[in-house]
Subunit: 115 residues, 2 copies
């Protein structure tokens, strides 16, 4: 997984366990595409200080994931649901039975609410 | 939810964020049904010390859940899957079509792997 995407996901999951600054800078850097210099300027601190705060926050995010594995579990769950969904689509494609198609459509709607 | 069940679930989810002692005593008390006195005796400490360690661990578990909501999310997800499963069972009960019954059986198997 791309590092940027990974950090974004981890921050979505564990962000509330970071300090306010760690959360804010990681969000600025990874989600709002601000540079270290821009974040430094906005906060009246050095570029190095911004980098240190982000690195410390990232380390905490990875530590939480190592212990709790929520990202891994969520991704595995989503993958299983996607597999079921694509099996349903295959069955629909191979069936000309309207009744079956309707039932499968309603199941797919239910499953889509889970991801 | 019963407090014992709740603490057990929270400890399953967030246990790795507790200290070794907090985890061990909460597990002894809530899952292995040992009394405070028994845990105290096994560890050569006072009953009050055991109680303090358990209380502190419990507070941490509730704090993590307040911030991360993983138990809530897991329970909601499981409830949605159960709803889909019981809808599938209803459709099966109302249908005499063998083909539909088989398709729904295989979907139910897939869904059961999610809970």
């Amino acid at each position: 997984m791309d590092k940027k995407v990974e950090i974004s996901m981890l921050c979505d999951i564990y962000g509330k366990l970071l300090t306010e600054k760690q959360f804010e800078f990681i969000n600025d850097y990874y989600n709002n595409d601000l540079s270290l210099s821009e974040i430094a300027e906005n906060n009246n601190i050095t570029r190095q200080a911004v980098r240190d705060i982000i690195k410390k926050g990232e380390r905490k995010l990875f530590e939480y994931e190592e212990k709790l594995l929520f990202m891994k579990k969520t991704l595995t769950q989503e993958q299983k649901i996607q597999t079921i969904l694509s099996e349903l689509t295959k069955i629909q494609a191979n069936s000309s039975d309207k009744k079956i198609a309707n039932i499968l459509d309603s199941i797919k709607k239910g499953l889509n609410c889970l991801v």
